[in-house]
Symmetry: C2
Subunit: 73 residues, 2 copies
DNA sequence: ACGAAATGCAATATATAATTTGCATTATGT
DNA sequence: ACATAATGCAAATTATATATTGCATTTCGT
């Protein structure tokens, strides 16, 4: 389900996927896959990403719950 | 680093490790290992656990940051 | 429009999360 | 003290997150 919040937080920090990847110690592809969604990263990786981007777990990974056009009101 | 918050949330709900395990679709051992700490569960599993216990990611998995006696003030 | 950087995508290989089974140990009630 | 339920622990196996490589496609400045 496409993690756009993470992508936006990364861009706000002026980082490329590769920068973030290096900072948290994984590969560019891994970052790309997480942003692309339908991926299931590890808790430690999520935490590392949050710290690198100055966000919390809830900020980036909690309730992506907007499937389709639902949940607007 | 021993996830005591998760254990407490589980006990407040009156669940055994086995109950929670069944509810989120993993094994008793997996739950035990996560509570015991130094384990690295999957994001989806963390989310399932949070929902089963009526908590958020931040509630249970963010900033376990009490290494030793530090960080008290 | 062009070139270069950034990102997407796919196959194979590797590291590690989660399972399974069995038994030891610790709680909890009676 | 006893019995039983709940949890801890450990080894071998299976499933899956992450690495690696290479190339296609998109994005963005000039």
């Amino acid at each position: 389900m496409k993690n756009t919040r993470m992508k936006m937080a990364r861009i706000e920090k002026g980082m490329k996927q590769e920068d973030l990847a290096k900072k948290v110690g994984v590969t560019r592809q891994t970052i790309g896959l997480i942003e692309a969604g339908d991926y299931n990263p590890t808790l430690n990786l999520c935490i590392a990403i949050c710290k690198a981007l100055g966000k919390t777990l809830n900020d980036l990974f909690w309730e992506e719950v907007n499937e389709k056009g639902k949940n607007s009101r």
